[in-house]
Symmetry: C2
Subunit: 296 residues, 2 copies
């Protein structure tokens, strides 16, 4: 039996160790660097990098090949959290169990730390040693995929829609579009980049894209459920905030029971997409289940 907990723990240690080397030392007197490290090394779930490494592994690649990109994805995710938490956006004070970046430092530093993490994510990919010229073209492709998913047609557009939807009753389809952009796009790209760097063929890439689309949405449904039912201490962030802000969520649109069933169906479909993969895809299979069973 595949031990997901041990797997995630081990991968997270590797990811955190890599992230740690990508910035100057923790004792840096540099406020900007301290703010970047504060948010980046606050110990999140590392879902995106874990997915990237697991997708690389699923097609027979050595996960180390995808480590740089996995770290870049976590930097982009962290920058988006720092900016989303700002007073002009979600105005959140608690994240990953600690004060948000603009509370621990100040607003200007938080904006700049986010900018700097986004910029660094592209720098580290462009700096990854390409062992041959074919690899250079592949790294460019990875940058293209990530920038598109994180940009104005992807994650950033999703955040715009999220802000605009406060107090508005969304239909289930609109809610799905918003989440597909806000969290789905980067999750899908994490899997796509891992597959690409692991040497996936076209058919494998399509199956993994399908897997990623399903779990990306399941992740968000589970997040909405946790915002209603979760324990804020365990989660390290406030709960009940969606309802306070009159945000449309899966529980508010579909009801709690139907949301649970929807998440379950999405996970089943994601597992079907992996049917023709061998046991190297077991981490991806376990992550799908974990995504809706997690308590934070």
């Amino acid at each position: 039996m595949f031990e997901l907990k041990a797997y995630i723990k081990q991968q997270n240690q590797l990811i955190d160790a890599s992230l740690d080397t990508m910035l100057p030392h923790a004792q840096s007197p540099d406020t900007l660097v301290r703010a970047m490290r504060y948010s980046l090394l606050a110990g999140g779930k590392r879902i995106r990098p874990v997915l990237c490494l697991a997708a690389c592994e699923a097609v027979g690649g050595a996960p180390e090949k995808a480590m740089t990109v996995a770290c870049a994805l976590e930097m982009i995710h962290t920058y988006s959290l720092i900016h989303d938490d700002l007073p002009a956006m979600d105005d959140d004070r608690l994240r990953r169990g600690k004060a948000t970046c603009h509370i621990a430092f100040d607003e200007a530093t938080a904006i700049l730390a986010g900018d700097a993490l986004l910029t660094l994510s592209f720098e580290i990919i462009a700096t990854a040693k390409p062992p041959d010229e074919t690899a250079a073209a592949r790294w460019l492709q990875v940058i293209r995929l990530i920038a598109k998913a994180a940009g104005y047609r992807g994650m950033i557009q999703g955040q715009m829609l999220d802000i605009a939807s406060e107090g508005v009753d969304l239909a289930a389809g609109e809610l799905e579009t918003m989440h597909r952009l806000k969290t789905g796009a980067l999750i899908e790209t994490a899997v796509a980049c891992g597959a690409l760097l692991g040497g996936a063929n076209q058919h494998q890439r399509e199956l993994l894209d399908n897997y990623a689309r399903k779990i990306g949405l399941a992740f968000q449904v589970a997040d909405d459920l946790l915002n209603v039912e979760g324990n804020p201490e365990r989660m390290g962030k406030s709960t009940g905030t969606d309802s306070l802000r009159k945000k449309s969520t899966y529980p508010s649109v579909l009801g709690i029971q139907a949301s649970r069933e929807f998440a379950e169906r999405l996970v089943q479909e994601s597992l079907q997409a992996l049917e023709n993969f061998d046991k190297l895809a077991n981490p991806l299979r376990s992550i799908a289940r974990y995504i809706i069973e997690r308590k934070h």
Copy 2:
């Protein structure tokens, strides 16, 4: 005689036409895209892209080769202005003769439009057609140079120092470090990328680096002088703001006359760096002079 005005006008038309194609149509109903276009196509001086194209030309390259990177540099410059203008930073209401992005739209949209322009800058470089594999490695090198110059060891660090220095009397050396990071790094990279894409050899690249360092600093000294002496209507932004914010500037540290002489000396040194270049470097020579003679 080389006609700089006509040259800059022509290059700006080409740059603006290129930028225009890199985003969805102006009549887009998409607020995020409208905010990005609003700031990007507000008609700045386009110093960085013009320098990039002129550096490419100076070493015998066709300037079209550097157009994508020139546009990416302008996107990064624009994003940095949008974020610098935010209430949590410089809190400016006027830029390029128009309301700043967060005034014309709102703060959340301005933060996200800046994020989106930064992300798009890397996307367009990674999407530029590499005709062969050597080109792919070169585009990666360009991304690396730009990300480093724009990141936490470059432009963003400069903005941190700028904010921290309000109300603090800086020595001339500290002022130079701050400006070298805040504006110099991206200007130097504009020239370096143009030279690289134009096929410069190592010696030419070193000379052009030296040229760029001198004019990068001269640009800032001239900016400080304009903040004291400039005409706000002509400049399209407020003047006298440095003194109001108790910022150290070249005029406040060296005095007005010595600042003018310093800028003049820097331009002379930048021209010396170009001594062994032929007439293809005339645009770079004229730009050096323009930088300290401009009225906005």
